[in-house]
């Protein structure tokens, strides 16, 4: 079989002049490469050490590396066509490491792969398959960038990218063409030198351009903090977040230099797509420009010339950017870090922000309402007080305690808990978990709130918390860890999904006969007819990886349909990151875009699982003229079927 296949042709002998020329090329290319790469490396290594960084355990790092780097999972998943084209290029580069080493060694008469031998023949053919895929891939990417021109690649055409594409195409074409020439033919020599030239022109271009990601991003992915939106603890008395260059850590600098400028972060950013100033890609490039100009030891502020404070405070912390970054950049620790730098030093001046901070300095809740109102609500709804004997502490949160709609959700969840016979109680006093101030970068307030709540929970001997607000859940479980050991906490969607077979549901004969345990109390709006679209809250989905549970619950009430953007691609409601407290947005409201998208599914009901989303959509839907779908929390979908009077049995 093998004799039927052409063999890779290589020049047989190299003259002394050729050897010298080759050596000169290698040295020049390596010098030009290193001259720039050393600078970048120096800036990264001279950045502050990440105090909270731990290399071990390695298992997750290896898993992410294999999945995201070797298998290009994030590159492909988010943009399949361009992603596969990129993966072809990447895999070909991997395959070509051996080819290139052999290529260089052969000049000096030490080739280790014989094109005619069994191993060499096999390997060269193996590489040729990748070369073919790579040539096709790079050509497709070239067409995309220069002719299809997706808007997130920016309005300016990058000629450097075009030139690189040409080099890569030449590298592959010259390799492939050598299968069709004879070793002794002069065209073999021409192809060989063309290949060599392309290679040594390509090398120094890498550290000068965004192609630096070739070298850095495998490290960036491997060394990432490991969990989503992880805000590192402040290190020492002089750390106030990202104030100046001296606060940039090695991880931040590495990430800044790894950015490949693909614009996936910007494409899915709710702020960037509704006319705000914030553009997550530009934030990362701003940090990179700062490092290039001033370096990591500078005391010049990071916000100002290089990044805009206004932009940084437009982030809803939805995390779409970080979630889909293919090169391992963690945008949220950087964005929140810049906010910490501004807030912890007092340089952020915002009337709404100050009002929120002052409300939490002196009071207990983000809404600035007298806690006596919470007491009255608890009394009116006959919510039992947690006394240490109940299984669950029902955490109300600011929205559940004070917001009229949030209170309805709490009341409905309480009715379901009563119906299920689950014992629960609410704390007599509860403070804001600190979510909005955590995301806005106020470490002083966050610490006070976290410590005060942790103390209250410990005093009350709370073991398990269930909450209606994904922001509370996230903050309690992850962010409070910095100041103590929080009790186990779950979102009500997780609790309800676990008890799904004991909950009333839209009765349909088929499902009833399949499931004898399920006792429908009151049929809901007819047998499975109600069309329900579920909106994934950022803090439940991307932050907690909970997608199926709320759907399981919503599906009890009707027929589920999906919004165009769903699961981990869900689009923010606009409330996160403390933004629901910062007053009117500029540009289009994020909530209106999302509410319209949800309504466009034709669903009769929009199901939410977060009181903030609920509040945002309530306002957005009220401002649309068309008859809007009804808006209900998943707990309310279920509670509708319960008898109206359902007081605690104890």
């Amino acid at each position: 079989m093998t004799f039927l296949l052409p063999t890779l042709a290589e020049p047989q002998h190299f003259s002394l002049a050729e050897k010298l020329l080759f050596a000169a090329l290698v040295l020049t290319s390596a010098y030009l490469f290193w001259r720039r790469f050393a600078v970048v490396l120096d800036k990264i290594l001279k950045s502050k050490k990440d105090a909270s960084f731990h290399l071990f355990p390695l298992a997750n790092r290896i898993r992410d590396f294999v999945s995201e780097v070797l298998f290009q999972s994030k590159v492909i998943r988010q943009r399949p066509a361009a992603g596969i084209a990129h993966a072809c290029v990447f895999w070909a580069f991997c395959a070509f490491v051996v080819v290139t080493l052999n290529h260089c060694a052969s000049v000096f008469g030490f080739p280790f792969l014989d094109p005619a031998g069994p191993i060499g023949r096999l390997y060269f053919w193996f590489a040729a398959v990748f070369a073919l895929a790579c040539a096709a891939g790079i050509a497709a990417l070239f067409i995309r960038r220069f002719f299809l021109r997706p808007k997130w690649l920016g309005p300016k055409l990058s000629w450097e990218s075009g030139f690189i594409a040409l080099l890569i195409f030449t590298l592959m074409a010259t390799y492939l063409a050598a299968f069709f020439t004879a070793a002794s033919s002069p065209s073999t020599r021409v192809l060989w030198w063309l290949h060599t030239l392309s290679l040594f022109i390509f090398l120094p271009i890498i550290p000068h351009t965004k192609h630096l990601h070739l070298l850095l991003s495998p490290f960036t992915v491997f060394l990432s903090r490991g969990s989503f939106s992880q805000i590192p603890p402040l290190a020492g008395d002089e750390d106030f977040g990202l104030v100046a260059g001296a606060d940039l850590t090695q991880l931040v600098s590495l990430q800044a230099y790894s950015c490949v400028e693909c614009g996936r972060c910007t494409e899915h950013c709710p702020a960037a797509s509704t006319g705000k100033l914030l553009n997550p890609k530009e934030i990362i490039l701003g940090v990179r420009a700062y490092l290039n100009d001033l370096g990591p030891a500078s005391d010049q502020p990071l916000l100002g010339k290089y990044n805009s404070q206004q932009a940084v405070f437009q982030c809803t912390t939805c995390g779409a950017c970080e979630f889909q970054c293919p090169v391992g950049i963690e945008h949220l620790p950087i964005l929140v870090g810049l906010r910490r730098g501004a807030v912890n030093t007092g340089s952020w001046e915002d009337d709404h922000g100050s009002k929120l901070f002052l409300a939490l300095e002196r009071g207990s809740n983000a809404l600035g309402i007298n806690p006596a109102e919470r007491d009255k609500f608890i009394e009116r709804e006959h919510l039992p007080i947690f006394d240490g004997t109940q299984e669950y502490c029902l955490w109300l949160g600011c929205m559940g305690s004070y917001d009229p709609k949030g209170r309805e959700i709490v009341a409905d969840l309480a009715r379901i808990l009563n119906y299920l016979g689950t014992s629960y109680g609410v704390l007599r006093k509860e403070k804001c978990t600190g979510d909005p101030v955590r995301r806005l970068g106020n470490d002083l307030l966050f610490q006070q709130l976290a410590e005060s709540n942790l103390e209250a929970l410990a005093q009350n001997k709370v073991k398990k918390i269930v909450a209606i607000c994904p922001h509370c859940v996230r903050t309690i479980q992850e962010d409070w860890k910095e100041y103590g050991t929080p009790p186990a906490v779950e979102h009500h969607s997780e609790f309800l999904a676990r008890h799904a077979n004991r909950l009333p549901h839209a009765s349909s004969p088929s499902s009833d006969s399949n499931n004898k345990d399920r006792v429908p109390l009151v049929p809901l709006l007819g047998p499975g007819k109600e069309k329900i679209v579920f909106h994934d809250p950022c803090y439940l989905g991307r932050y907690r990886n909970v997608y199926n549970e709320p759907r399981t619950v919503a599906a009890l009430a009707g027929e589920l349909v999906e919004a165009p953007r769903n699961h981990n691609r869900s689009f923010c409601c606009g409330a996160g990151g403390g933004l629901s407290f910062l007053g009117e947005e500029t540009g289009i409201r994020v909530s209106q875009i999302r509410a319209a998208e949800l309504a466009s599914t034709g669903a009769e009901t929009i199901a939410t699982a977060c009181p903030f989303c609920n509040s945002m959509f309530r306002d957005a839907l009220a401002s649309t003229a068309e008859p809007a779908p009804q808006l209900l929390d998943i707990a309310q979908l279920i509670a509708r079927a319960l008898p109206p009077a359902n007081l605690p049995t104890r």
Partner: protein
């Protein structure tokens, strides 16, 4: 400009206020404390004056050991140093007695301006600031929203009734009592708190300032305001009822 700001620690607005067993004080077991709001505005005004004209802002507070965090808060927000008059019996002292302490401490500093809130949120007498001014023999003005430095002294904006304001000129040194709402308050920052630990808090004892004297005003008893919702039915013909209503609005409600 050297500015002294007299501040008071008061029970937090959200704390439950219960009268203790003696009937003369409030039960402090479940109480949280905060900086008296008008004093917070006085501090803010002082800090803004300092930011504009330079100088020094000194926080002055009388009270027991646990006033510490409130003094710390003032330092965190930008006061340069503080004076703490250790006084365990603050709650039982009348306004004159407290003013004497503050005035003596102020004398030692000889500031250009002494600012304080126009009243405290807990007792609300509105006396201390003006008595301090009288004790020091300094010009004073109350209900001040804004202070502007002039060549000869200061110009202040004073709140009158019904949305009217008065602008007056004063020489310095002077004492001003500050009304809430003239400025936007700044929030406490982590850097402020950390830096405040390095700032000086001078402690003074009451004995070193003023010899003990019997109070002029003695607190007899504290009671919570009774919630009364009394509805009076005005009877008679519509004309008679209307006349009676006008009379009541004029003489009892004072709204006409």
């Amino acid at each position: 400009m050297k500015i002294l700001v007299a501040i008071k620690q008061v029970p937090d607005r959200d704390s439950p206020v219960r009268i203790d067993a003696t009937g003369k004080g409030i039960d402090e077991s479940d109480l949280q404390y905060a900086l008296n709001e008008p004093d917070a505005y006085a501090l803010e005004e002082a800090l803004q004056l300092k930011e504009k004209h330079g100088g020094e802002v000194i926080a002055l507070s009388a009270g027991p050991e646990n006033v510490g965090p409130t003094i710390r808060e003032a330092l965190a927000k930008g006061a340069d140093r503080a004076i703490h008059i250790l006084c365990d019996d603050l709650a039982s002292r009348d306004a004159l007695s407290v003013a004497r302490l503050l005035a003596e401490a102020a004398k030692q500093e000889a500031p250009d301006l002494l600012l304080t809130g126009l009243q405290s949120e807990d007792l609300g007498q509105g006396q201390t600031g003006v008595i301090v001014a009288e004790l020091l023999g300094l010009p004073h003005a109350t209900l001040i929203l804004h202070v502007e430095k002039t060549d000869s002294g200061i110009e202040v904006k004073r709140e009158l009734e019904e949305g009217w304001f008065q602008t007056i000129q004063l020489p310095t040194p002077a004492v001003l009592t500050i009304q809430s709402g003239g400025n936007k308050l700044r929030y406490a920052t982590l850097m402020g708190i950390k830096r405040s630990k390095m700032k000086e808090v001078k402690q003074l004892t009451t004995d070193s300032l003023v010899p003990a004297a019997p109070p002029v005003a003695v607190l007899e008893q504290l009671t919570l305001p009774a919630k009364k919702k009394s509805t009076q039915m005005l009877t008679g013909t519509p004309q008679q009822a209307a006349a009676a209503l006008v009379e009541k609005l004029r003489t009892e409600a004072h709204v006409l």
